[in-house]
């Protein structure tokens, strides 16, 4: 009975297609059509500009706390872009560019981050779940959705998003394990942005990569340069094909960086250095993609200016519409409407009591 090595599948790929300067590795070029490349570029710029605008609105007290996405546009948009309309996207809360890509309105984002449940309404035809806040718990929902699709023999996939911090949560591991055991068509997209509020990636896990956790669950895993939209897209497309073919789930670790604060209630200067932030600014996903597109000759300076101008117009329009909607403060009594499908008697009584109280204190219009 000797002591010997067990033969395990022990390798994890790292995929990078566009380098920091936007130079393409032609052997890995996923060959996306020009129109799609331009669309992706516009969506990244929209995500970035919308973030900037929301930060201003937040600082002016016009919306509440929100989690900026700046720096992570490629890492989530590149993955969501491979989904079909009838696939499911299960977001966390820092995938705004991907949600807008899927058809979420900017008005809805603004309302959600200003405390209006209406902002979590998912538009008809968009097969997404609303944002999920309990960290990591939504990953299991994607597994359940994928399971349901497999049961119905549909060739659809469910894609879940979560951060590096979430990979320390039991629910995420339970999700990997379930998905592996039942070979469901799920894609797990980790936004490894290096920081879970103030806890650095190195203190989150002793593992060299997050992607390698896939090995332990017997599922496919890959690490990609999350600031390289072509790499993220290519890895996600491969995962989607695997899932649709019935060959099980994939974990994709997108190595990226949260250039801004965790949420607007956070000040990252308290726990990380300016040098670190600057080193990641050089790896900016939009900058390198723009260089690539210019090099490829499908956009020029005028085109870039046009995209920026049109994006800003769209954002302004959305802010105007959302603020108009939010000015009509909904009746607080509305809070009773969706606790249950049908309001039970004790809630009716509490609703009545609150209405009465508001009447007496003159708050009722």
């Amino acid at each position: 009975m000797p002591r010997k090595k067990i033969d395990l599948p022990g390798q994890i790929d790292h995929l990078s297609i566009l380098d920091e300067d936007g130079k393409l590795d032609e052997s890995l070029d996923p060959g996306l059509p020009d129109e799609l490349l331009i669309k992706l570029y516009e969506a990244m710029v929209l995500g970035r500009e919308f973030d900037r605008r929301m930060l201003n609105l937040q600082r002016q007290g016009r919306i509440g706390t929100f989690p900026p996405i700046t720096g992570q546009e490629a890492a989530h948009l590149g993955a969501a872009a491979v989904l079909q309309a009838d696939d499911w996207m299960v977001p966390s809360f820092r995938e705004t560019a991907a949600e807008l890509w899927r058809g979420r309105s900017m008005e809805s984002v603004l309302m959600a981050f200003n405390g209006f449940n209406e902002g979590f309404h998912v538009e008809e035809g968009r097969n997404d779940l609303p944002n999920s806040v309990p960290v990591g718990s939504q990953v299991l929902h994607a597994v359940g959705i994928a399971w349901a699709m497999k049961y119905r023999k549909e060739k659809r996939v469910a894609m879940a998003f979560f951060g590096d911090g979430a990979t320390s949560q039991g629910d995420v591991h339970e999700a990997f394990n379930f998905a592996g055991v039942f070979q469901v068509p799920a894609i797990f997209v980790c936004q490894n942005n290096q920081w879970a509020i103030s806890i650095p990636r190195s203190q989150q896990t002793r593992s060299k990569t997050i992607a390698q956790k896939a090995l332990a669950y017997g599922i496919e895993g890959i690490q990609v340069d999350g600031n390289d939209i072509l790499a993220v897209y290519a890895a996600a497309a491969e995962a989607a094909e695997r899932a649709r073919n019935g060959d099980g789930p994939t974990l994709i670790e997108c190595v990226t960086y949260r250039l801004m604060m965790h949420t607007t209630a956070d000040d990252p200067k308290r726990y990380r250095t300016e040098e670190e932030v600057e080193s990641w600014q050089k790896k900016d996903p939009i900058h390198r993609f723009q260089s690539y597109l210019k090099e490829k000759g499908i956009i020029d300076e005028d085109g870039i200016a046009d995209v920026e101008a049109s994006v800003k117009d769209r954002i302004q329009e959305a802010v105007d519409t959302a603020e108009k909607q939010m000015a009509e403060t909904p009746d607080p009594l509305h809070m009773f409407a969706h606790v249950y499908d049908t309001m039970p008697p004790h809630l009716e009584a509490q609703r009545e009591q609150l209405a009465q109280w508001r009447n007496n204190t003159g708050e009722e219009e």
């Binding site: 499911w88 299960v90 449940n117 209406e118 902002g119 979590f120 309404h121 998912v122 779940l129 609303p130 999920s132 309990p134 718990s137 939504q138 990953v139 299991l140 929902h141 994607a142 597994v143 359940g144 959705i145 994928a146 399971w147 349901a148 699709m149 049961y151 119905r152 469910a158 039991g170 629910d171 339970e174 999700a175 394990n177 379930f178 055991v181 409407a337 969706h338 606790v339 249950y340 499908d341 039970p344 008697p345 004790h346 809630l347």
Partner: protein, 334 residues
């Protein structure tokens, strides 16, 4: 109706639940059962015995040992158009899935502005009295009944064991079904055509005029037994089975208290911050001037459940304690 359907059959509480699952699976292809050991093993309490043979592993799903995992996946499946029945072995392990139940299933409808509901049914065994010690003997159904957004039901009778599941599956809200493990072997008769029952009304199980005993689940039988003993002593107790702990049907017990003017609550949960406290408060709010004397409560002793049999018996509500309390309340001598 054929004679077959009318005929009473003898079966156990366990059989009644199994029949309910079987029927639901037959009627609706979206229904499936999942949990630990529900397939090959037939369920920790043998509720799902032979269902794997009948429906196959796609619909009777043995899962890895992770409560949050299968409850979370169940929520996802429900959001994705299925009607999952999730079995958690006992309420004690449901604590591992508390985030999924309380922080997800219970608030999904609310947080999505009425758009996404989670039509999941989660069944679990509850209760003590079987010498399983502190970590396996909890009665936390009252604790779950504190949470807005979920429904909490606790079938005591064969009719309810047979009939609540289908109604729960039709309900668009998440429903938790608590099955007291001491009831699984209980045998009784059920009509051949027994089927769905409501999950929003308490039932008067024994009519009486001297005192109202409000209870649910396994303590229903202790209360009924006590009522029979009391009847021989000339005390006529009304016994109410709550059936549903959230939303609570207070109209039924308030009407009863208005008639008897005395109320005793018998609850296996701990006393402080319990469903019994809520019932007591509602009686105070809704029937204060009907009361001849303060509401009394008989609950489990507020200590972790002991392992030793005689100590466990001492912790739980028992027939003799109910009898003694009622006698004291109605002012009976001796």
């Amino acid at each position: 109706m054929t004679d077959d359907q009318k005929e009473l059959r003898t079966l156990t509480y366990r059989d009644a639940i199994r029949e309910a699952i079987h029927e639901a699976m037959q009627k609706d292809a979206r229904v499936f059962l999942m949990g630990e050991d529900v397939g090959r093993y037939g369920g920790c309490f043998a509720v799902s015995k032979r269902l794997l043979e009948a429906f196959g592993p796609e619909r009777i799903r043995d899962t890895p040992l992770s409560e949050s995992g299968f409850v979370g996946a169940g929520i996802g499946a429900a959001l994705g158009g299925m009607r999952p029945i999730v079995e958690i072995m006992t309420v004690n392990f449901s604590l591992l899935a508390a985030v999924q139940i309380i922080n997800n299933a219970a608030v999904y409808l609310y947080m999505s502005g009425g758009q996404f509901n989670v039509p999941i049914v989660i069944r679990m065994a509850t209760g003590g009295g079987r010498q399983l010690a502190a970590q396996h003997s909890r009665s936390l159904e009252g604790w779950y009944a504190h949470i807005p957004g979920i429904k909490v039901v606790s079938p005591a009778t064969l009719e309810d064991a047979r009939g609540m599941l289908w109604t729960a599956l039709q309900d668009p809200d998440p429903v938790l079904i608590f099955e007291n493990a001491g009831l699984y072997n209980m045998e009784g008769t059920l009509a051949g055509d027994a089927g769905a029952v409501d999950i929003d009304k308490a039932h008067v199980q024994r009519a009486g005029k001297d005192i109202t005993i409000i209870t649910y689940s396994a303590n229903l039988y202790k209360s009924l037994e006590a009522a029979e003993i009391l009847a021989k002593q000339g005390i006529d107790a009304e016994v109410i089975d709550l059936r549903t702990l959230r939303p609570l049907d207070d109209q039924t017990f308030l009407a009863s208290v208005a008639k008897t003017h005395r109320a005793l609550i018998v609850d296996e949960g701990w006393r402080s911050g319990s469903i019994s406290a809520e019932i007591s408060a509602r009686i105070m709010e809704g029937a204060f001037y009907e009361l001849d004397l303060p509401v009394e409560r008989l609950c489990s002793v507020e200590a972790p459940m002991p392992y030793a049999k005689h100590m466990e018996d001492a912790v739980l509500p028992q027939v003799d304690k109910i009898v003694a309390l009622v006698r004291k309340m109605v002012g009976a001598n001796g």
